[in-house]
């Protein structure tokens, strides 16, 4: 076995890479580096769009993420709420994810500055979990109040003042889909934008960001915040750095490690490939 194959063998031991990855992230989390962050045009577009909303904007927000995706999506959601707060927003929250109710309570607990200034039933309401189907999104779009008779806290939706002004898709200034999955994203396009032309905004995990791009490029959606990196940029734009900004140093560390492995992979691969070709020729 040549030395290069030995190197390849060592680099291929997955457990070493795994431990390195944990070590890099752990060390950087304990010793932040404060690496500067560049702001992408796409993030700025979303910021500007929200900035231009009228006073008392009405929003529909689907909290479709689970604890795993929460690390990425919650900072973006909080940044959005903080940017909206001075405008006195009216927000109808719901969730198509069974874990959504947990995530909504966590969102509330982690943004006390926002929710302490909003009055339940008047400024915001939470409709709880509704099943993840296209018919559900269409039902919410056709009138949330009639569909969900009581909120998860037991109050009747019929008497809530917020539903007098924000009930049907056409009432909302913008519908926000915070999602870890492409399903609700596609259904927002089909059931909220297509029939009602209500502007929609995506906040999605980085995994699905690229595959949702066509809807942004075709202007079916007004914009998209994709992933922890854009959430961090959003936090910087509203001048309230939070958990996403804090995490981005560790992101850098992990990325650099992976990039090093990619480069090493190619440095090892090419000599081996050339050697095996030569070997075949001589034999």
């Amino acid at each position: 076995m040549s030395w290069i194959q030995k190197v390849d063998k060592i680099l291929s031991i997955r457990q070493i890479l795994y431990l390195l990855l944990i070590a890099v992230v752990l060390v950087i989390l304990l010793n932040p580096l404060a690496i500067p962050i560049g702001i992408a045009g796409a993030t700025r577009d979303v910021y500007n769009y929200i900035d231009k909303l009228p006073q008392n904007p009405k929003l529909l927000i689907d909290v479709h993420y689970e604890p795993a995706g929460g690390t990425e999506m919650q900072p973006a959601a909080i940044a959005l709420l903080r940017q909206l707060l001075p405008k006195g927003p009216k927000i109808v929250f719901f969730t198509t994810h069974s874990v959504g109710p947990i995530m909504f309570e966590r969102l509330k607990a982690n943004a006390p500055d926002v929710f302490s200034q909003l009055k339940y039933g008047e400024d915001y309401v939470f409709l709880g979990f509704v099943p993840l189907t296209e018919a559900t999104i269409a039902s919410i779009a056709n009138g949330a109040k009639e569909f969900v008779a009581k909120d998860p806290y037991g109050s009747s939706t019929a008497d809530m003042p917020i539903f007098k002004i924000a009930d049907k898709a056409t009432d909302y200034n913008v519908a926000v889909c915070i999602s870890t999955s492409t399903d609700p994203v596609e259904w927002y396009v089909r059931q909220i934008y297509t029939p009602f032309k209500t502007p929609i905004l995506f906040m999605v995990v980085a995994v699905i960001g690229p595959s949702v791009q066509p809807f942004v490029a075709s202007k079916q959606a007004v914009g998209m915040i994709s992933g922890q990196n854009q959430a961090a940029q959003y936090e910087l734009l509203i001048k309230r750095p939070g958990s996403a900004v804090a995490a981005l140093d560790a992101q850098s560390g992990a990325h650099v490690l992976i990039i090093i492995y990619i480069v090493l992979g190619n440095l090892v691969y090419w000599p081996m490939r050339l050697m095996s070709k030569k070997g075949r020729k001589t034999s």
Binding site: P67, Q213, S218, I262
Partner: protein, 214 residues
């Protein structure tokens, strides 16, 4: 009668519903009909909740198997699962009936202690797989792979602070790649899936889709 209902029933239901929505969406129909279509949507959403109940029952039934047969190496886990599931169900249902829903403290404790960290971790395991895949998979074997690797590296650098420090242009470049070539690359897939939905609808109407068959 019952056999005809059995064979044609589900298919007929699907056909009628598709045709109904086809008409109400595209044509100017009287307001009561429009309202009825919105009613149907709400009904379907309510029905969908029941599928989740059935899913839970299926899990219990599935794990009763190893438990009953004392399958070595499995029955202990299945037993633990059923025990915890039943405790969870009792806490959850009593929470709902007491009007506190999922905020009922013992139930909230259960999901905050077990569900939240487990869910987050089980997805986090994937970071290891993607790291080791990067080492082997991102090898430049041919021209297609070369393009994939170059784009991948640019996007990686544009996503992190280090990239911005090395060259600030990574951020707008990454933004451009995402906004234009990537949007164009996924567009045919989206058009294809849209056409796929339409044809699935037609096949369901013709009774040639799986839901329509006996």
């Amino acid at each position: 009668m019952s056999s005809a209902l059995r064979r044609r029933g589900p298919y007929t239901v699907i056909t009628l519903l598709i045709l109904f929505f086809f008409v109400t969406y595209l044509f100017a129909v009287p307001t009561p009909v429009q309202q009825f279509s919105s009613q149907l949507l709400q009904w379907a959403a309510v029905v969908a909740y029941f599928a989740i109940l059935v899913g839970t029952i299926d899990i219990i039934r599935y794990h009763l198997g190893p438990l009953r047969s004392k399958q070595p190496g499995r029955w202990q886990y299945s037993g633990a699962l059923i025990a915890v599931l039943v405790i969870g169900l009792i806490l959850g249902v009593s929470g709902v009936l007491s009007g506190k829903g999922t905020n009922y403290e013992p139930f909230a404790w259960l999901y905050n202690a077990i569900y939240v960290p487990s869910n987050a971790t089980i997805y986090a395991i994937l970071v290891f797989y993607i790291a080791s895949a990067s080492y082997r998979a991102f090898r430049i074997r041919n021209a297609q792979a070369l393009l994939l690797v170059i784009v991948g590296l640019i996007i990686m650098f544009s996503n992190i602070g280090v990239g911005y420090v090395i060259w600030p242009g990574f951020v707008p470049l990454g933004n451009w790649i995402n906004a234009y070539p990537v949007a164009a690359a996924f567009r045919p897939i989206i058009i294809g899936s849209g056409l796929g939905v339409i044809l699935t609808g037609l096949r369901a109407l013709l009774g040639r889709e799986v839901y329509g068959r006996e």
